[in-house]
């Protein structure tokens, strides 16, 4: 009975980083993040893989992927990573992979080169030991209306999925969850500032015995944002959200993230006002040139 290489599984996670904050910035020196150019990334995996399941998705578009070749010794995947700058591919070996260790975990950066080959030297050790005892494939879809970093998915204190994934506002990712879920599923995230994150867990009841509980917990970040306020002329009074700051320009401040209205006033000059929402870890440099009042 030719039980050749049976399709087992594979998981994929796509982290679409393409969407950037479109908040207008008054500073020309703030760097615009590069958009990934539409390109083709070929990933060659030199090992005996029976199957590779790749799924890439973001809020705007589902990406079509095709396999160039399909063989025991190598596998080549071609994809069009438009608006994608990171693709993670996971491959398993044979049908016995259910009881085996996940073999490889590759990360391909799209847009960097038109063709990229990955070898075993690129193998990253993914937490996959839980496959040895049990296997579950429970995709959870997350939609983030605010930028968030998923710190990890846990069940009974064990890691059951990828960690440290960055999800941009408005994007959706498919999160594969592997491992026994006897203790329910807990997903934690940080960097969450406003908006909401919706998790949807789904599972095949024949494979998941215990009722699945999806809990989303946020751990608020304690990081602030840095603002540098320079003005011409100097020694202007600074107001942050209507509260006067105890230093005159030029000054700097590290403060809590969130919506911020900055007003600069100095006698004989018109007020300078600007408002924007600032995120944790962000830096805002203000170079305000105050206009003289007309008499």
């Amino acid at each position: 009975m030719s039980l050749s290489l049976v399709v087992v599984f594979v998981a994929v996670v796509l982290t679409p980083f393409a969407q950037q904050d479109k908040t207008p910035s008054p500073q020309p020196e703030i760097r615009q993040q590069k958009q990934a150019e539409p390109s083709h990334t070929a990933t060659s995996i030199s090992d005996k893989y029976s199957a590779l399941f790749v799924e890439a998705q973001n809020a705007a578009k589902t990406f079509g992927l095709s396999f160039d070749s399909y063989a025991e010794d190598s596998l080549r995947v071609t994809l069009s990573p438009e608006k994608v700058n990171c693709l993670r591919i996971t491959a398993a070996t044979t049908s016995q992979a259910r009881a085996q260790r996940l073999r490889s975990y590759f990360s391909a950066k799209a847009g960097s080169t038109t063709s990229q080959s990955l070898t075993r030297g690129d193998l990253a050790d993914f937490s996959c030991d839980y496959l040895a005892t049990d296997f579950r494939f429970v995709p959870a879809v997350v939609r983030a209306s605010g930028p968030v970093t998923l710190m990890g998915a846990f069940s009974n204190g064990k890691v059951v999925s990828y960690s440290d994934l960055k999800v941009q506002a408005g994007n959706t990712i498919l999160l594969p969850v592997v491992g026994a879920l006897s203790g329910g599923l807990t997903i934690s995230a940080s960097g969450f500032s406003g908006g909401s994150v919706i998790w949807t867990g789904s599972a095949d009841k024949s494979t998941v015995d215990s009722p699945l509980t999806v809990t989303f917990t946020t751990s608020s970040t304690t990081e602030g944002c840095e603002i540098y306020v320079n003005s011409e002329p100097k020694e202007a009074a600074v107001f942050f959200n209507g509260t006067v700051w105890y230093k005159l320009t030029n000054t700097s401040v590290v403060r809590d993230p969130g919506p911020l209205k900055v007003k600069l006033t100095i006698a004989g000059y018109e007020d300078w006002v600007e408002e924007r929402s600032i995120k944790a870890g962000e830096t805002w440099t203000i170079d305000a040139k105050l206009k003289k009042k007309k008499h």
Binding site: T222, E223, G224, E226, Y228, F240, T243, W245, Y246, K247, T251, S252, V253, V254, R255, D256, G281
Partner: protein, 162 residues
């Protein structure tokens, strides 16, 4: 008919409670509304590093002293052999104010310490003149001193005469 004696004890207790309540309300308002911004003085500068070290050392010293005095306050209640008795109503009130003052001082220490450490960790910055840092410092010190006063009053009121 002899004139009734002016009772200092109840007056002092009432004053103690009033000042404590006013101070607490003012503190709560300040704590909520104060600007938590800090000027970015990088800790790569030796002066900023030294200032933060000394600031934390002083905060910690006051905090440890507060815990010590809080323990001593409860010893008066727990140990029967002391010459202080928390039996009268006045003594009980001053005892409560003492505890509350020390507790607020410790709370300010704890919250302020964490906040400043977070700022240092994420931004390598410390500003000893920042409004929130000044508030934390003042609250910790003020309520520590007030707790000491209340403790002194508790001892005076509660001392056994026999």
């Amino acid at each position: 008919v002899p004139k009734p004696k002016l009772r200092i004890e109840p007056l002092s207790v009432v004053a103690l409670v009033l000042v404590f309540l006013c101070g607490s309300v003012y503190l709560a308002h300040s704590w909520i509304t104060i600007d938590r911004g800090m000027v970015i003085h990088r800790l790569t500068e030796e002066t900023a590093r030294l200032a933060s070290t000394l600031f934390f050392a002083k905060m910690t010293a006051v905090g440890q002293l507060t815990i010590g005095l809080l323990g001593a306050t409860w010893a008066m209640l727990a140990v029967k052999e002391t010459k202080i008795s928390i039996a009268s109503k006045s003594a009980l009130v001053t005892f409560i104010v003492t505890n509350a003052s020390f507790a607020i001082s410790l709370l300010a220490y704890n919250q302020g310490y964490d906040f400043i450490v977070q700022r240092i960790f994420h931004h390598s910055a410390f500003d000893i003149d920042a409004p929130f840092v000044v508030l934390v410092n003042n609250v910790q010190k003020s309520f520590f001193i007030y707790g000491c006063l209340a403790l002194a009053l508790t001892i005076i009121i509660g001392r056994r005469t026999t």
